[in-house]
């Protein structure tokens, strides 16, 4: 069965740590970092990378368009 795996990258300097992507993610992949970026925001990052399915939900709700979503189909 083909399995879908995904990943995201976040432009950490543009992220304002609003957390909308955290609640939008259906598989709870995203968390807010303990560290802050140059503006003092706790930026979003992939907390549980192996769970990402590349659904783009986080990208759609991100007000600052800092999330890029990647997706691959794997034949296991």
């Amino acid at each position: 069965m083909a399995k879908i795996k995904g990943a995201i990258t976040v432009d950490t300097e543009g992220c304002k740590g609003c957390g909308l992507c955290v609640v939008a993610c259906p598989t709870n992949v995203i968390g807010l970092a303990r560290e802050v970026n140059g503006k003092g925001y706790n930026y979003a990052y992939m907390e549980q990378a192996d769970k990402c399915i590349g659904c783009s939900s986080c990208g759609l709700v991100c007000p600052d368009s800092v999330i890029t979503v990647y997706k691959v189909k794997m034949n296991a």
């Binding site: 590349g54 783009s56 709700v61 007000p63 368009s65 979503v69």
Partner: protein
């Protein structure tokens, strides 16, 4: 498979559209303006009308929208965006002209302009962002503020006897014969954003077919003005705004 193997240009499923500039938006964290800007930019990219689109920005937080969408812009006096858009569209009928207005701009000082532009059936698109508050000036009461809602100018909540009822402007607009497409959308979940995108696309297509004014209201949040976190704002919006401002298509001709 390692994350590094997934993060490759050929695997991109979703990325920032090129119609948006690289400027970091001045909006507060979690502001719905960012999502709406992005959705409009994505539709402009999909329809390939970047060089044929003219936006008219309002007075309010989104006055600086011209910094973020890489299209032609005009900036109108407070509430007068529909008048400016009328002129732009009549002078250049082949262009896609839209106004982007907040509730303080469209529903308060600009009520006359929007009513008459819609009644004349100008072939423009109007994006009306309703967050029930004046965001830029510090969270004052707007015509759309809900009954009982606390703002900086109604600290004990909006009182009907003193301040009147919240204005459902989209329902008024839907009655005007000049409009062809009137809808109310939101942008708080991925599903809502997808729906909004379809509505935005339909609105732009309607202007190309010269069907009349297309009016898209977007119920949004103002986390700073409401004094809630972005996630809590979305919950508050669902609980309080949606019952008074029900989502859906009011007119589609």
């Amino acid at each position: 498979m390692d994350v590094k193997d997934i993060i490759k240009p050929e695997n991109i499923a979703y990325k920032k559209t090129d119609v948006l500039t690289d400027n970091i938006m001045h909006y507060c964290p979690g502001c719905t303006h960012g999502v709406i800007h992005k959705t409009i930019a994505e539709v402009i990219e999909e329809m390939d009308i970047q060089d044929k689109t003219i936006g008219v920005s309002p007075v309010g937080c989104s006055v600086l929208a011209y910094n973020y969408l890489d299209i032609d812009w005009q900036q109108a006096a407070h509430g007068r965006a529909p008048a400016l858009a009328t002129a732009a569209k009549r002078l250049m009928p082949e262009k896609y002209v839209f106004t982007y207005q907040g509730d303080g701009d469209l529903a308060s000082i600009g009520t006359a302009e929007i009513m008459h532009a819609c009644n004349r059936g100008e072939n423009i698109v109007v994006f009306f962002v309703n967050n029930a508050i004046y965001g830029m000036t510090g969270g004052q009461m707007a015509p759309t503020t809900l009954v009982g809602q606390k703002t900086s100018t109604s600290p004990y909540g909006r009182d009907v006897e003193l301040n009147g009822h919240p204005l459902r402007i989209t329902e008024l607009i839907a009655q005007l014969p000049g409009t062809s497409y009137v809808t109310r959308q939101s942008a708080e979940t991925p599903g809502a954003v997808r729906k909004l995108k379809k509505a935005v696309r339909k609105a732009f297509e309607n202007t190309a077919q010269r069907k009349g004014t297309s009016f898209v209201e977007i119920v949004g949040t103002c986390a700073s003005g409401w004094k809630l976190s972005p996630v809590k704002s979305n919950e508050w919006m669902k609980e309080n705004m949606f019952p008074y401002y029900p989502l859906g298509v009011m007119k589609d001709e």
